[in-house]
Amino acid sequence: MNPVRILIAGLLALIQCSVYAAGQSALQPQQVYLHLGYDWVDVDDADFDGAFSAEGGLRWAFSDNVLLEAGVSGINDSETDTLEDNTGSYQLTLNSWDFLLGGHYQFDFTDKSYGFVRLGLLFYSMEIELEEGFYGLKPSGKDSTSDNGFGFYAGGGCAIVMSPNMTLEAQVIFKRRPDFLDGSSRPFDVDTTTISIGTRYSF
């Protein structure tokens, strides 16, 4: 089955489930969140630089402490240095859309603050672009390819309640996108570790 269809079906199921659960929860039944952060990108044998990124999504209270969540994030123009060898110079750039679906567990520190952990699956749609030059001796050029697949994410953070509806959050989240270009001669994993801050609005 097409992975996109699986993801959409999962989201619809999650929404139905959470609407039912929300009626029984002490938490506000729905939340929307938006985070801005910085990604450290890790690929074996390569050195991509970090990049600013954003993550946004919805959460549905499932019980007093547990929320289900669906979100969107990505990798935004993470580049390698321009490297050189006998053949020429080359630089690679990664861009990705990540669709997140998972659980969110939170626990109180005080009346106005709490911690949380997150865990779930992600579906990625990623593109990598190669820019090659040949020291001016032959014409330079670009090539790109893309792939999609499933991975996972895990993270945690803390939050401060600013008002009954508004919360400030800070978090660290790790995402793994395994076997990118798995049909190629050298598939590789793309991991990111992101530190972000953001707000959560409950309604």
């Binding site: 006998n86 020429g88 190669l130 020291y135 032959k138 270009l181």
Partner: protein
């Protein structure tokens, strides 16, 4: 282990330079100012099945770096290697390859193989590739055969010399196949945690006498600079010596002149390599340069003043 030892030398001041001396070279024709030329050398050390190869190609007298998927391959009877340049765009290419039957020689060819040229890169080449197509040198090539093996009988390995006035007497087996004998030396001197390395290369002649005497003083002078010759890496018979290839590999090469008087040497290792060289016909379309096949033997002695 060898790599680890070299890395330990990183903090050490290491300068590599060379002096080119001796009689004129009867085998190495000059590069042509028109058309395609090649300077190619393959050396088979005594009791080794690994051939060291070095090559450069020229167009209209200018050395040509190979880029964009063009590579030089060297093929023996049982191995193929891609020649790599230790410095991008230098146009000087090196490799080592195994050989089981040296009489089969080594063939050098310039080919356009975009994936092989990039095989050290980490990303999938079958998915990501900018191929600008073959350059104009693709298709040129030449072959090399080797002379009879050269075996050094003297001096003995690790022999110690204590004075610059002493002579080092080299003896080796002679052969009628010899067209030229060359002596290449690499001196590595130590002073505490510092080291200094340089090389010399000289042609001993076209007659294979089987013996040569060289003074310690001529290899390790007590005064003056040990000069960094600007065309150091043009001396293929010098860079083909593994000690120098290693130094290049680790980026330890400095071309600045160093005054030997300022270096309070404690001891030196002198590596002496005698080459038996023969010339080979250049491949089709190549109008200048040379293709040298050699056999060699190396002995290392010590100088402890």
């Amino acid at each position: 282990m060898i790599r680890a030892k070299k890395l330990m030398l990183l903090p050490v001041l290491l300068s590599l330079c060379s002096c080119y001396t001796g009689s004129s070279d009867s085998l190495r024709d000059p590069v042509s100012q028109e058309g395609v030329s090649a300077t190619v050398h393959a050396d088979l050390p005594y009791q080794s099945n690994v051939v060291s190869v070095a090559a450069s190609f020229y167009k209209d007298g200018e050395k040509q770096p190979l880029v964009g998927g063009d590579i030089i391959t060297a093929a023996s009877d049982n191995d193929t290697a891609i020649l790599r340049s230790l410095e991008n765009l230098s146009g000087n290419y090196l490799a080592q390859l195994e050989v089981s039957d040296s009489s089969a020689g080594v063939d050098f060819t310039i080919v356009h193989d975009p994936e092989a040229a990039r095989q050290d890169r980490w990303y999938p080449l079958d998915e990501l590739m900018v191929d600008p197509g073959p350059g104009e040198l693709v298709g040129y090539g030449t072959g090399i055969n080797f002379p009879e093996p050269l075996v050094l009988d003297a001096p003995l390995s690790n022999e110690i010399y204590t004075s610059r006035t002493q002579d080092i007497i080299l003896n080796w087996t002679t052969s009628p196949s010899t067209e030229q004998i060359r002596l290449t030396t690499v001196q590595t001197c130590y002073s505490g945690d510092r080291s200094l390395q340089w090389g010399t290369s000289s042609i001993l002649g076209t007659t294979d006498t089987g013996t040569h005497t060289v003074s310690v003083a001529s290899l390790i002078p007590s005064t003056n600079f040990v000069n960094a010759v600007s065309n150091f890496i043009d001396q293929l018979s010098l860079i083909i010596v593994s000690a120098i290839v290693d130094a290049y590999s680790f980026g330890l090469v400095s071309t600045k002149d160093i005054s030997i008087e300022s270096f309070q040497l404690e001891h030196c290792a002198i590596s002496l390599t005698v080459f038996r060289e023969i010339s080979n016909e250049l491949g089709a379309g190549i109008s200048g340069g040379y293709a040298i096949g050699s056999t060699s033997d190396t002995v290392t002695v010590n100088f402890r003043p």
